[in-house]
Amino acid sequence: MIPAPFDYVQAESAAHAIALLAEHGDDAKLLAGGHSLLPMMKLRLAAPEVLIDIARVPELAGITRDGDELVIGAATRHADLAGSALVRAQAPLLAHAASLVGDPQIRHRGTIGGSLAHADPAADLPMALVALGGSVQLSGPDGARAVAADDFFTGFFETALEPGELLTAVRVPCRPDAVWGYQKFVRRANDWAIVGVATIGGRIALANMGPVPLRARAAEDALAAGASPAEAARLAAEGTSPGEDIHADRGYREHLARVLTRRALDGEHS
């Protein structure tokens, strides 16, 4: 399968990428690792006329610490995130989530910014960012802004990114000592979660339980009110709206959310 023809431009800087986006408008797409975009282009689900390659923009790379937060460049690959001593020490949930994306080859190409901007509700990193209470830095022609993870995912494969904006960095709070759990239920290797759960310090995020990565608010509230993890987990599917597919109907996904939340709250990592 071969994508429809397009022009390829390599961005020199974030400002250059934003200028190129302004110049080409809806005809352009940003390309980083390409591991969500290129498969869509091969299936002709996407046919941009211009690809703006941001993978090698220096200012979009790198992981640094800024006070109580980690700042992760949008073009940071999953393999770099999973292998980073800084991330493993300060946000181990995020490193673990990155280590479960796809397979080794995919982790050598895919980027955190690409995964978040693609906003697949079944994906690992959107759920991890919501669990951690992180945020994303967006830059556009009108300047830069920060959007909290809870507000960034607005619909099925939809985000708060405005046309012409570039996701430049991801910020997550340093939580070196917080108890965390991670559960990803899959039928096959190298697959998306049928249901995923990430928990840290009383926050519970769910993957594939609705059009966006969701907080399990009822379970979180129960925990805050003193319920045991097992009691809270029984509420994990409250307020969710999971889809149905060949792998699972709604009831099965709700059951998985409850079981996996209990395991995650017990600190289990899958």
């Binding site: 023809p5 390829y8 591991h35 397979d103 080794p104 080859q105 050598h108 190409r109 190298n190």
Partner: protein, 158 residues
């Protein structure tokens, strides 16, 4: 567009369409047919090559994205008529059946061992998660990778 890159140690410069995938560039422009197009959907790993020493699925990389970088295919592994230790181990342990997945398996295994020279059996199985063998010949493939790791150790101690 013009792309310049190094393939199996050879510097090349070729006129390509921006939409050309790395696997088609390798097979159709360079004439290197080891990397196979299997699923063509980033799942099976039959097209795995090394890009700057790391395993990637060349059906999901544009040759434009590989510009200025170094690609190694299975054809580039042997030197002076000597097979690469991982190739030797696949032969010795019979790590193949029909052979279609083999070039991708070998390249993924080399990438795995570069990152983790002493993998456990579980780490080998997880490290080859991105490569499918439709003959289900995984057992000997895993044995071959473990044997290659042991052989590398033996060479270091010898």
């Amino acid at each position: 567009m013009q792309v310049e890159l190094t393939v199996n140690g050879e510097r090349r410069s070729d006129e390509v369409e921006p939409r050309m995938l790395l696997v088609h560039y390798l097979r159709d422009v360079c004439g290197l047919r080891a990397a196979n197009v299997g699923c063509d959907t980033t799942s099976c790993g039959a097209c795995t090559v090394l890009l700057n020493g790391e395993s990637v699925k060349s059906c999901t990389v544009l040759v434009a994205q590989a510009a200025g970088q170094e690609v190694i295919t299975t054809e580039g592994l042997a030197s002076d008529g000597e097979l690469h230790p991982v190739q030797r181990a696949f032969r010795a342990e019979h790590g193949l059946q029909c052979g279609f997945c083999t070039p991708g398996m070998v390249m993924a295994a080399i990438g795995l061992l570069a990152e983790n020279p002493h993998p456990t059996e579980r780490e080998v199985r997880e490290g080859l998660e991105g490569n499918l063998c439709r003959c289900t010949g995984y057992h000997n493939i895993v044995r071959a990778v473990l044997a290659a790791a042991r052989e590398a150790d033996a060479e270091v101690t010898a």
